[in-house]
Structure formats: structure tokens, C-alpha cells
Symmetry: D2
Subunit: 349 residues, 4 copies
């Protein structure tokens, strides 16, 4: 059994981690910290856990965390970087579900997050935990940066297209939509039910923090620097991300590369991936088909007389986009069955 | 491994059974029939099952069903009663998720369901599958009537109060609310998104089919015939039932029986039940705390200077109110671990 | 044109008042105050008003309010009572949409609201603004207490039944459900989209502030003190209240008073009321049938062999339950066409 | 008063027309036909209209329609074209809310709609009723093709950009999202609440009927044939369309044409339009800001180091995208106040 700790377990990512870890066959959850809720039962905040988890929140404390084999940080950006160096030095492995270690260029990170990085020397060591790209590195790392939710859906959607050099990279577009749980559990007028239900809008259309993270990933997939436009939108629902991606076929490939051939490339690329499902041509993946599950479902389209490839990609932002992917990475880091604890079937309807 | 068949697997109860059975450690799903979808992959209708279940729908066929140890009927009312006698005669056990065997008085059944019963002789043999009341009978039965969704929430809420003879039984009231999945997957204008979202209403307020089923159950809990009013309502959400129950304390008990004492009775009655959670006094159970899980959560209230006891009871109508309770009954009927395959934690948020 | 001021216009009641007053043919909106938003355009917070209303929020200021013929208070409980005496003394009429003047017994008010009342001497003068009961008093008053949302739906539902002495008054029950806008626009975890969508629960089941308000109203409808149970619930939708009311026919009336006769009494009682619609027997009013409108729709039911009368009553909590009723009262207080500015048809679907 | 008839008033477009026309100061609604509902009160299907509209549905009948000055067709595609020639010949003006007269090239129409056009000779006469483009033609026409919902939002968003020749036209992209009411009121499994709530998906990603309609409009705005990709999505909400549009600045304009300059062009283009609101730079229009109103709100964005212009455009699909725009066109065709009957403020929250 792996001894696990969680820092900051009161948010949605935290409770989703708890849901998964409480049923994980190889995990012994030792400690969960929360400054605001210390002393209280986890199941008082999340009655869904009554009968499954009897643990209380404790004050953040390095010594108790240091007893763990692995600590998850489900904290706001900027928290993990202050505690990670000490924990690493005590031999604890780390999975950070926030953004502190996702971007390797510290200047870019500091610009987008408005903070001075507390341990820039660790950025080169941190492994970006998209198993479909970095599986081997994940297996041997001690500091893992769990990808953002949008970046997961967008990168998995573009990956085979870019790896195969099929499209122009100067005008890639991702029109992405997320359920409201992505905004977290903070008390905010903007995410009240009465402000968001029955309505839809774009937000951060002039630049969102996940833009540089995705751009870094797309650049790593091939050799030319990408031009990339990313517009996130807020859906009136709790869970789920859908990304509709647009890319123009290169002039020299468009004549002989049919959509069927591209479909084959996608299927080949992901055939051994337990958590990526390339659906048949013509499919329209629904976010509910992955609700509560760790799956990413992808489908391809092309319109008549058009050289634009359309990729549809859906995930559950709290599972494949956060806690589920973190557990997947944990499984890899500790040599467990890769799918242990994250084989849940989506809740549908 | 138990060989299992499902008749009528395209509705919401059917797909929920599939979700649970696909992960059940002791079940081998052999056959699933659907006249309308025969030949098609189950996962084409329910993409959530892609990768988990590769089975196709087949035409209804007694011979293939007769190979099974157990057949679930997830069919409209009136279908199971025509096929059950033959299957029973071939040694197959039956769990009917519809209403064909729920009411022991055939005249009452025929009045409310508008059909002539095809095998009234089996009504006395059928066991009403509320494990909290009939556990031992369930274990040894071969024909099980799985309770309705409202009846499950309402009966579990009233049970300790009636068993202890604390309240007047002539004016029991259940004001119940259900998510829309309870109306099934038929194409109906009345359950379109645009007809139901952002709105709420009572329905069948002059008499709903679950009224006689609940009344029969309440009558069985104690000796005097009950006067019972039941008003169901349609909630703008997919899953979940909440029942708010009202009962008047008997004049001779009201002075010395405090709510605290009643709370103790509820806790004692349900302390060994894996799927009933009596919450602390003052709690307000939310339907989301049981979404996707087989739990029923109950809380008690009493207002100042009032002799009315208020019971709040929530379940997921598709799990504890249908497929989950059916699996629970299957576990009992086959001597399996009682909670096998139905230990999922609610999906929250 | 009536010169109107609004104190506290940033909440949902405030913006609904703005929507109605901006189109009202007899109103000149002079001033709207908000401490937190002073200086900002109203339409910056509520873009729906862009092009319809060019006014800015101003700091609360007695002198500018004193220029008005009428001031609406759309403030939290306890604010209006501090400013009303001075404004009244300057000849300004007042409509308070909060609870400060709704309960005539100051002790009861102070117990439920946890505040010391600032001007108890005005309580006897304040008119409770349910036009269907107090139309003539409303016309001549200068201080109007606009009813609560639940109290409006519940009192209109019970009124003809109690006025005609048809039912036992010791066990009246109101099971009421409200959309989330009733909780206001404050930043609260409990009313976040991700905490409330797709879920349902009772709240304040041991006692809600609207209980004494309703009880006072029911007591005023007839001579015997009522026993009344009120359980509010939170619906996963923005607007709308549905109240399902239960009352037992008196033993001496139940034999000869059919539901048809009671229906006639309801129709007779409300036949001249522009904002109460008694629907045909067997109807199930939906909250969406009044969304955005000032209408209350009511329907009656009775179940077989039962002496319980069931009344279904729906309103839009922000219109008939707040801003619309306030405008109705304004129309009466100033001798305008009673329905001016509040004749909108519900938005459906 | 204009005598008005409606053919096919039972769908969502029909009831929205009724809501608007019932309050329109210059309209006398004479006849509303429905084969399936003939003889029934309109307000029995739509209780929201109780007290506002006492008219019954009648069988479709040319003679009674011929008494009208204007007939609206709120019918499925392919119905209007069969009746329009006769009504025109009797001097009745026509507004078709379906697609029969929207596309001037009959071959394109027949390909996308799978029907043989019944009166292709009228296609050149029909005026495409986007008042912001065709106001003068609308005023003098007798046959008006009311634009589709998506085409309205998309064309108004692109219009100033294309008229000013600022962008490359070979890779225009519209990622559009619509509420479910756009799918109509037919009984369909795909638009059930339980199939769509809490979920999101693209549909018709390989080609949607509004694609050729939009393409025709974009081609008419400037001289070079456009390359245009259009992906519609289904939102879990009733009303509202949001279109996020992407266009690449031409190389020769990108250096000196700032977003501020483009904003000015948009404001200038729409400054006299009563139903287009260009919001300040940096805005993110929400669909709820136009719910129930005839407004289109637009905002512009550009991301750092990018030559891609992002336009956000929102409408209510049933108002500006259907019934409201139809009333706007009626006002123009009959010389009425252009905004009569369609000045409602959006319902928010």
C-alpha cells in the first residue's frame, strides 16, 4: 500500500481525488490538510463520502506529510512551489495538480501567473504528466506537473495531426468549452447558479493562462513554432470539457491525405492508450459519455471542399483533466497497474 | 460467475444495470435483448460503455435467456408477466424492475395499470425486494419484484416511525420530487429539455401508480390501515428523488417522545444496513450526495410547538430506486457479498 | 410621471425592479443607490439593461431620495427600518421589499430576524401588500410591506379555503420549492452552480423566517389559531416557486362539499383579480408558465377516498413574489392603472 | 391594425410569435392554424398565454388566411413554398420563418434540404430579411425570407470585418453554440432532458444546413468567394446562441489596423441599428443578456502576437434568431415604428 497525503482537499479537485483514492486498491490515505477546515470530518463537507472515508482535515504540517510516499497538491497556484523542495528532500514524491511546475520557461510562467517562482531550479526536473506523451519519464520521476484541464483535451486532440506534420502550424485554433466546476469552489458572484445557469459566454478571450501551457505542448510535438488561438467558454453544467479544434491541411498533403487516412493515424497513435478513445468517423463525442470517467474521446470531421480538419475532443475536467490523470500518473510512478482505481464507467444519463 | 440476461436494455434502467453489471466481480453478462435495437452494439447507443462492454443487442428469445441463472426485466409494465412463468419453469431466477409483481392484490394492480394480469397465481410467491424489510425472503426467492423508485424513498423514510407506532396513520403525507430520468427514455414532448428545464411542477396529483404500492407497504409496517396522500413532482434535473414526509405524533406519545429519541430509533433500525444512512439531526440530505450511488440518506426535523414529524429521504432513482437495488437483491439471492458491485461513491459535484 | 428612487439596486430584486420600471409608462426613475457600486453604470453590472437605462448608481443619500414621490427598498433585512422614518417625515412614500415591516408583532419579528427593530411604532401603520387581501388599505397607505415570496404563493393558495372555513386549521402543511434566485446575489459557496445544479434538497426544515409571516396571514384569514408546517426546498433553476399545500376537510363539510364546489369558490374569490389564475380542475401549474410574469396560477386536487385537499400554487419569486407585486402596489398607491408595467407574458419556453 | 395570420403555431417559433404579437400595439391576430391542434385553445398548449390570448387553433384554410394582410409561416421547411404563391396572388404579404426562400440558388437549396422546390420562380423576388443589410428591400417586399438563427448571429458578427476587406476570406471559421429550443418541439429522444442536460457536444460537424445560407451571406458582403467552416454545438440550456468567429487579418492590413480601429468600424456600422449592440473592447457577451429580447450583442478580441480577430456574437435564437426578427421585418414592411412590440428587456437573471 502506498501512503498518500493530500494538501488542500476542500476544492473540487480535492474531493474528486478523495472519491478515486478511497476506492483505490493500493492506496492508504494518511493525511489530508486544510487550513480552513482543520479538525472537521471530510465527510461533513462532502456527505457523498459518508461511510466511505472517516478521515479528518488536519493543519498543514510538513512532518506528517513527510511520512507519506506521495503527496498530491490540490492547492491554488503558488502554494506547492513553496513546500515541494522540502518534501522532495525528505524523499517524498510529488504530484502537483496546480500549475506551478507545468511551464518550463520561468519567465513565461511568472508573466502569466503574476508570481515569482519559489524554486525555478526544479522546473527542468518536473515531468509534464500527460502519459500519452511522457509515459516513460513519468515512471521514473519524483516531481510531476499534472496538466491543466483544457491543455489535456486540446493536446490529445492535436497530437497525431502535429506529430505527422499534416497541418499548417501558424493558425491553429482551439475553441474550448468547460463546465463550471473548472472555476473551483470559491465563493464568487460570477459562478453562482443564478449567474450562469441557462447562459453561455466566452471568457478570457484575449488570453487565458492555459494558452502558454498548450503552446509549449504543441511546440514540443513538432519543429516549427506554432501560432495558436485559444478561446475558452463557460458551459451551464458542472463537469466536462469539449474542445473543437481547427487546423488547415498543408497544401502539399491536402490532395492525397484523406480524412480516412488521418483517422487511421489517430487510431494507430492511440491504440494502446487505455484512456483515449478514437471514435468512428462521423461521431460527435458528448461530454456526458466521459462524466466521472478518465476517458478522452476524440472524433474527426472535414466539411465539403474544405482543407480544414476539425477535431472534437471531450474529457471530464475533474477526472482526465485533473484528479483521474493524477491517479494515472501515480500508478505509473509507483509501478502499479496503470488503470487501477480509475476504471469507472461514465455516469450516463 | 453468475450468468445474467437482461430483457429490454435500452432504457435508463437498462443502461444503469449495464454500468453496474459490467464492473460486477461475480457476473457474466450473457445476453441483452431489445427488439428495436437487435444486432446493434450496446455501446453505439451508450458510448459511455465503449471499451467496457462489447456485447450486441439480440432479439428476445426464450432459449438464450433460459441459459442464464438470472434474468432482469427492465421492460415497460406488462411485459415481464408474459415471459416469467416459462423462464421460472426452466429454473431461471427473475428480477423484475417493472411493476408486474409489486402489488399482491391483483384487482388493485389491474385497476391502476389498466391491464389484465397474465399470471396472478405468481403474485403471492413474488417477494417485494426492499432488502431492509424483506432480506431473508429475498435470499430464498426465485421471483423478485424490485420496488418502484418513489416507494423506496418513501417507505424507508416512514419505516421506523410506523414500526414503532409513533404517529397517526390516517393522514400520512409524502411530497415527493423526482428527476426526469424517472420518466424513461421514450420520445415525449413532455420530457423534452425545452419543456422541463428551468421549470417545476406537480404531476398526477390526483393519483399516481406508486400510491397503491406505497400504501401496501405502509399497511404492512403496522396494523391499522393508513390514510396516505402522495404528490409527485418533476424536478429539472436527471437523477435523484427527494421525499419530504409528514406525520403527526399520536397524542399519547407526543409529550415524552422527543425528536432525539426518534432519531435514536432510526439509527438503531438502520445501523446494520449498508445502504441507509441516517444523518445527524438538523441535516438536509441533498440528492447529489447519492448521485450514482446505492445509498438512501434520511434526516429528521420537527418545528417549534409542532406535533408534526418531518422526514427527508433521498435516493438516486436509477440506483437505489431501480438498478442498484436490483443488483443488491441479486447479491442476496445468490449468496454473494451483499455490497458487491454497488459500492460506488456518489459523483459530487 | 411618478418620481421613483431605489435603495439597493444591485441584487436580483433590484434588477427585476429596474426591468419593470424602465418600461413603466408612468415612472421616472430618478435615483438608484448602492454603496458598493456608486459611480458605476447600472448597465455595466446588468448588460441586459444596455440601451434601456443609462442611470448610474449613487451613494445612498437622504436628500436625493427625498426628492422622490416613492422609494423602493430592495435591501437586506434591517436596512429599510433605519431610513424609513426620515423619508416618511419628508413626505416620501415607501415600499419595502425586505421583511422589516411584514410582521406586526415586534417580538416575533425580533426573534426570527435576530435584530432590534428600529421603528416598532411604524409596524401598526405599515400595510401588508398582498393586493388580493388588502387592496383598499394599499391604496391609501404611505408605508407598504411587500410580502415575501413563499408567503405570497402559500397565502394565495390557502385563502379561499380558509375564508370559507372548510378545513381543519391545526395541521396545515406547505411543502414549498424555490428557484435559487431567492437566495440573492451574494457570493456564497452554497449557491454556486456546482453546488446546486442537478441536485435538490430541503433547507431550514426546522424553521424558516417565512413561517411566522405566513402564520400571521393564515391567522388573519379566519378565527382559530393555525397549526402550520412549512418546509422550503431549493430547486436547481433560477426563477419560480411552487407550493404544494395540504389541508384536511372538516368532518362536517367533507361529505357534501365536493372538489367541484371548492373550485367554484376559488374561481369566485379570484374572478376580478388580474394576477391570480385559477386553472381548471386537474391542472398542474408549471413555474415556467409564470416566468417573468406577475401571475399566480393555482389548481386543486383531491385523491380517491381522501379528505385531504391539495392546492398547487406557482409564482415567479422575483415578480409576483417581489418586484412585480411591488409595482402592483405602487400602481394602487398612486391611483394608476392597476396592471400598468406588469402585463408581461411569461417567457416560455 | 394589421390583420395577421400564423400558419403552424404550435412550435417554439410559433409561441414566441404569439408572445410578441399578443402585446403588439398594431396587430390584430386573426387566425392561427394547426392541423394537429385544430379546435383547441392556444392557451391550453401554452398556459403562459392564459388571460392574454383567447384564440383557438383552426384547420389550415386558404380563405381565412387570405383575409389577412400578412401571414407568418412558422412551419417545417417545405410547407410554406406550397401555399405562398396562392396567398401572394390574393394580395397577402408573407414572412416565412422556415428556410424555403432563404437561398437564392435553387440547386443549392434542393441539395441541402432534400426537396424539390415548389416555386423556384419566387426565389429571386424573396428578400432575405436581415434588416441590418437589407432594410430598404424589406420595406417594399411582399415575400420575406426570415434568416436562420445561426446565420443571424454569424453574419452580424462578420459584417463590418468583411465589408471593410480587412481579413482573408479563405479560412473564416464560426464555432457556434445553440440552446436546445433551436431543435424545435418535436418528440425526439435526442432532445430529451435526460439526454442533453449536463452535457455538451458538437453536431453536424461535417456540414449543417445553415452553412450554405451563411456562405451566401458572406459572399454578398464582399467580392471574393469565401472559404468558410461552420461547426454548431448543442448547449444544455433552452434559449440563446453564441458564435465565436475567427478571421485572419490580411497581411497588408495587420500592421496598422489595430483592434481599436476595428472596434470603431463596428460601432460606426451599427450605431443606428436598434438591435445590434457593439460592446466595449474586452467584453464577453453572455447569452442571458439577450434572453427574451431582440438584441444582438457583439464584442471583439485579439490575442497577443496574433493576427487572428475573434468576434463574439450572441442572440436569443427564438427572438432575434426567429420571431423577433420576423416582427422587426413586419414593422418595416408595413411602415410601423421599427421597434414596436419588440422592445422587451432581457430576462436576467
Amino acid at each position: 500500500m502506498i501512503k498518500v497525503g493530500i494538501v488542500g482537499g476542500t476544492g473540487y479537485t480535492g474531493v474528486e481525488l478523495l472519491r478515486l483514492l478511497a476506492m483505490h486498491p493500493n492506496v492508504d490515505l494518511q493525511v489530508i490538510t486544510s487550513r480552513s477546515e482543520a479538525g472537521g470530518l471530510v465527510s461533513d463537507i462532502y456527505p457523498s463520502l459518508r461511510g466511505h472515508l472517516d478521515i479528518c482535515f488536519t493543519e498543514p504540517d510538513v512532518d506528517s506529510l513527510a511520512q507519506c510516499d506521495l503527496v498530491f497538491f490540490a492547492t491554488p497556484n503558488g502554494v506547492a512551489m513553496k513546500q515541494v523542495p522540502e518534501l522532495l528532500s525528505k524523499g517524498v514524491k510529488i504530484i502537483d495538480l496546480a500549475a506551478d511546475f507545468r511551464i518550463s520557461d520561468v519567465k513565461v510562467w511568472e508573466k502569466w501567473y503574476g508570481l515569482t517562482h519559489a524554486c525555478p531550479e526544479l522546473l527542468s526536473e518536473a515531468v509534464y504528466g500527460l502519459p500519452e506523451i511522457n509515459r516513460e519519464k513519468v515512471k521514473s520521476c519524483r516531481l510531476l506537473a499534472n496538466p491543466g484541464c483544457y491543455p489535456t483535451a486540446v493536446q490529445l486532440g492535436f497530437l497525431p495531426l502535429l506529430e505527422n506534420n499534416l497541418v499548417e502550424t501558424n493558425h491553429l485554433i482551439a475553441d474550448a468549452k468547460s463546465g463550471i466546476s473548472g472555476a473551483g469552489r470559491q465563493a464568487n458572484v460570477g459562478t453562482l447558479f443564478s449567474e450562469t445557469s441557462g447562459s453561455f459566454k466566452a471568457y478570457a478571450a484575449s488570453g487565458h493562462r492555459h494558452l502558454p501551457e498548450i503552446k509549449q505542448g504543441l511546440n514540443n510535438m513538432q519543429s516549427s513554432p506554432v501560432g495558436f488561438t485559444f478561446v475558452p467558454h463557460l458551459l451551464p453544467m458542472i463537469r466536462g470539457i469539449e474542445a473543437t479544434l481547427y487546423a488547415t491541411l498543408k497544401a502539399d498533403v491536402s490532395s492525397d491525405t484523406t480524412l480516412e487516412k488521418i483517422q487511421e493515424m489517430y487510431e494507430a497513435r492511440y491504440k494502446d492508450e487505455p484512456f483515449v478513445d478514437v471514435m468512428p468517423l462521423g461521431s460527435h463525442p458528448e461530454t456526458r459519455s466521459v462524466k466521472g470517467s478518465n476517458m478522452c474521446r476524440i472524433a474527426l470531421h472535414q466539411q465539403e471542399d474544405s482543407d480544414t480538419i476539425i477535431i472534437l475532443s471531450v474529457i471530464d475536467n475533474l477526472v482526465k483533466g485533473a484528479a483521474g490523470q493524477a491517479v494515472h500518473n501515480m500508478n505509473l510512478m509507483f509501478g502499479l497497474n496503470e488503470t487501477a482505481g480509475i476504471e469507472q464507467i461514465a455516469l450516463m444519463p
